[in-house]
Amino acid sequence: MSLCQLLSLRHKVMNIAIEDHFHGDLNAHGFEVLLLCNKKHLFILNTLEILDLKNLIDQSFISMGLSAKTEAVIQ
């Protein structure tokens, strides 16, 4: 995965309205569909997987030295 693709994944994940997963009507089943790497891959993730992915992406940018944050974000 190139950095561009990672940035685009980050943008998609950051734009997910996770609060909607806890609202009966807005996202009734708690799933998100993500298209990655110029539509090469399609992922269907549940609430916990999305939260993990958000964390993973955050940590990735920190460990690559591309984030202003230095400490680990909350698990």
Binding site: C4, S67, A68
Partner: protein, 172 residues
């Protein structure tokens, strides 16, 4: 991996997020000025309309400046969604007062990004925004001068048309 990533991107992701936010703000400003130009045209303030058409173009240029900066630094520029454009104004004075209010908001937003970039040690973003900081001083000053002119001219009788004619001074 660390060096490879740094070689492809020369600013921090947090700065990139804030700059994408600023792209949206500049796009919103451009659309707002276009709405003001429309209002001025419909209410017979043709010189002011010209002023706002030009402002709308300038705001789009600001947006593109940031967009291209994100391209140059290897970031991910996002084409903005622009919603909630106000088309209702009670008078030409209201139009210019709203303009100043809008510019002050833009200035605050830019100062915030400068401060955040500084905190994160992102010198590139901080220096890039120098131009915007000075541009905002100029833009606020222009609108303040127009509001002063309105105050002096007064809105009674032919005042409104005189105000409109004098706006020409600020179109170059």
């Amino acid at each position: 991996m660390k060096d490879i990533a740094r070689q492809s991107m020369s600013i921090k992701v947090e700065s990139m997020d804030l700059l994408n936010g600023q792209i949206k703000i500049e796009a919103h400003a451009s659309a707002t000025y276009l709405a003001m130009a429309s209002w001025c045209e419909q209410n017979g303030f043709f010189t002011s309309a010209k002023f706002f058409f030009k402002q709308a173009e300038e705001e789009r240029e600001h947006m593109m400046k940031i967009f291209n900066f994100l391209v140059d630094t290897g970031g991910n520029p996002i084409s903005p969604e622009v919603t909630n454009i106000n088309h209702d104004y009670s008078s030409i004075v209201d139009v210019f007062e709203s303009t100043l209010e809008h510019e002050v908001k833009v200035t605050k937003s830019i100062h915030n990004i400068v401060n955040e970039a500084r905190k994160g040690g992102d010198i590139v973003t901080e220096r890039f925004l120098d131009w915007f900081v000075m541009e905002q001083v100029e833009e606020e000053n222009t609108v303040r001068d127009i509001l002063d002119m309105i105050e002096v001219t007064g809105t009674e009788g032919v005042g409104l048309q005189m105000i409109d004619n004098q706006v020409a001074k600020w179109i170059d």
